[in-house]
């Protein structure tokens, strides 16, 4: 069942001359993990804001088409109600810290205070969420004294604790170092495994290839391609646009030209690449084997 449904969505920011999203139609099923790739200015962030209700409620501007999440429609809803359905986290962890709280525990409780959750329930929900994202040991620290990866996990926990139906993440690891990236992806993956619907905008193709059920490639505000990671991330269309290429695909493509890669399909993960080089004539590994690295 589609929990997110976009029909012919076109949106233009105020004071701009061309639309940021053009005629975008998408269906995302409950529990699906969808990754969005695309070059700068492709409309990835705008798509996130649209899903999270900030377009048009916060940014104003003109939105045509319909945006539906969990049965309610963005035009006939307010931002206040909308944020209960869709959680949004984005790049800069520092700017996602509310600034109104002195400890991580209070910071995570901030959203629950705002929506009027009773105190006992609040405490247990915060504790549970912190356990889930493995930051219980940070509870009494100041949110400002944390590393980038820790701050981003606090920001994610602050959204998760509100129990949204859909999680929208706009390049959550773009300002992280490798350790921070791994920490944050660990949390995202756990969310996906628990059946949360996740929509992730991300440049780090190797991670997407491992975890995502489906990849959507955006370009100039339009959906360029849509399919499994194996289909989208190896597509010549994506290669031409110069984004979303994993190093495994690049290597295999080069090898193909030298007749060293014999399979029809190009790899997107380390497993597929090693498999292809080691046993060039057997079929590609099944999708279940992805993600075991």
């Amino acid at each position: 069942m589609a929990i997110v449904n976009l029909q012919n969505v076109t949106y233009q920011y105020p004071l701009t001359s061309s639309p940021a999203l053009r005629d975008v139609s998408l269906q995302i099923n409950e529990g699906e993990f969808v990754a969005v790739v695309g070059p700068n200015g492709a409309g990835k962030s705008t798509l996130c804001y649209t899903l999270a209700g900030f377009v048009p409620h916060f940014f104003k501007g003109e939105l045509t088409g319909t945006v539906e999440v969990a049965g309610s429609e963005t035009h006939s809803s307010t931002l206040n109600e909308w944020v209960m359905n869709v959680g949004l986290a984005f790049q800069n962890p520092f700017n996602q810290i509310s600034g109104a709280k002195y400890t991580v525990f209070e910071e995570i409780a901030f959203g629950l205070e705002n929506i009027g959750v009773p105190r006992d329930e609040m405490i247990s929900r915060v504790e549970d969420a912190m356990k889930l994202t493995d930051i219980s040991d940070l509870a009494d620290r100041s949110p400002y004294s944390l590393s980038g990866g820790q701050q981003q996990r606090v920001a994610l926990t602050s959204i998760l604790v509100m129990q949204p139906k859909v999680l929208v993440l706009d390049e959550p690891t773009s300002q992280m170092d490798p350790i921070g990236t791994r920490e944050v992806f660990g949390v995202i993956r756990k969310m996906a495994e628990q059946g949360m619907t996740v929509i992730l905008v991300e440049h780090k193709v190797e991670w997407i290839a491992q975890f995502a059920d489906r990849v959507i490639a955006l370009k100039d505000g339009e959906v360029l391609l849509e399919g499994t990671p194996g289909e989208v991330l190896t597509s010549p269309l994506v290669e031409e646009s110069g984004f979303g290429i994993s190093r495994y695909t690049s290597v295999a493509r080069k090898a193909q030209k030298l007749a060293l890669w014999k399979k029809h399909k190009l790899p997107v993960t380390l497993d597929e690449a090693t498999e292809g080089f080691a046993h060039p004539l057997t079929p590609n590994p099944s999708p279940e084997r992805r993600g075991e690295q």
Binding site: Y49, A52, F54, F58, L79, N80, V83, M84, G87, L88, A89, F90, N92, F94, N95, Q96, I97, S98, G99, A100, K101, Y102, F105, E106, A109, F110, G111, L112, E113, N114, I115, G116, V117, P118, R119, M122, I123, V126, S142, Y144, S145, A155, S158, I159, M162
Partner: protein, 259 residues
């Protein structure tokens, strides 16, 4: 650069456990009474038998003397000297230098005023030392203070050190490209100008992101907010508050009656 811009000293004391509103009433009570009552000795007595014993009760006496003396001595001292020298009050002349001739009356008057300032600043210091800002704000928002107002107060306290740190980074970056920050005062002042752009515009961009981030957490939700901290408001809290309000009214009445 992670220090907080707050005086709060964490202790376990009777004063710390009082409801923030009670302490706030206490502060305003002290200030109003010392300004309202026409008796010369009121502020002196309030300091001696009110604020100072309370600082011991709150287990913050050391911090209290430290901060309040540093804050008050320059301000109150300056006020005292100016008023003692320039207040044209008739009375017995103490000495005369050039055109300055302080009288006994003007010195007394100046001392009284300085003491009132002392009451004001030192009771506020005591309040800040024993009340956590977020506790104060959640208590006040529970009583109907708009959430936006509380947010502005607290986030300012938190964000100022962050902005300071950012300013340091920008200065370092500009210095590494040859900006002069170490010669004469005027040169240094003018070298601050290129700092303003990145700092202010950078902060404005951040404001939008932060607005989105807190909105995503239901900041403007129309539901009734709750608070993580259960802030005790006991009967003795209410009793103290009413007693203070009564005292303020009595001081006002005495003032009106005597004048």
């Amino acid at each position: 650069m992670h220090e907080r811009l707050s005086f709060y000293a964490k202790r376990d004391s009777l004063l710390h456990r009082l409801n923030p509103l009670t302490k706030l009433t206490l502060v305003f009570g002290f200030v109003l009474i010392s300004f309202l009552t026409p008796f010369y000795w009121t502020p002196h007595l309030l300091i001696l038998f009110g604020v100072i014993p309370l600082s011991f009760l709150g287990k913050v006496a050391r911090e209290y003397f430290n901060t309040s003396l540093r804050l008050i001595l320059p301000a109150a001292g300056f006020l005292f000297i100016m008023q003692a020298l320039f207040q044209p009050l008739e009375g017995r002349e103490l000495f005369r230098i050039w055109f300055l001739h302080p009288t006994e009356e003007s010195v007394m008057y100046a001392f009284g005023n300085a003491m009132r300032i002392f009451v004001m600043v030192s009771s506020f210091t005591l309040f800040l030392l024993t009340t956590h800002p977020s506790e104060l704000m959640s208590d006040l928002s529970r009583r109907g203070l708009p959430g936006q107002f509380a947010y502005v107060v607290i986030s300012t306290l938190q964000i100022l050190p962050q902005m300071q740190a950012k300013a340091q980074t920008i200065i370092a970056a500009q210095r590494s490209r040859g900006l002069d920050t170490e010669s004469s005062f005027l040169r240094r002042a003018s070298s601050l100008i290129p700092l303003v752009g990145p700092l202010v515009f950078g902060s404005l961009v951040e404001v939008e992101e932060r607005a989105i981030a807190i909105e995503a957490r239901g900041f403007t939700s129309t539901r009734v907010k709750t608070s993580l901290h259960a802030i005790p408001d006991t009967n003795s809290d209410r009793l103290i508050r009413w007693a203070l309000i009564l005292l303020i009214l009595i001081s006002l009445a005495v003032r009106l009656w005597l004048s």
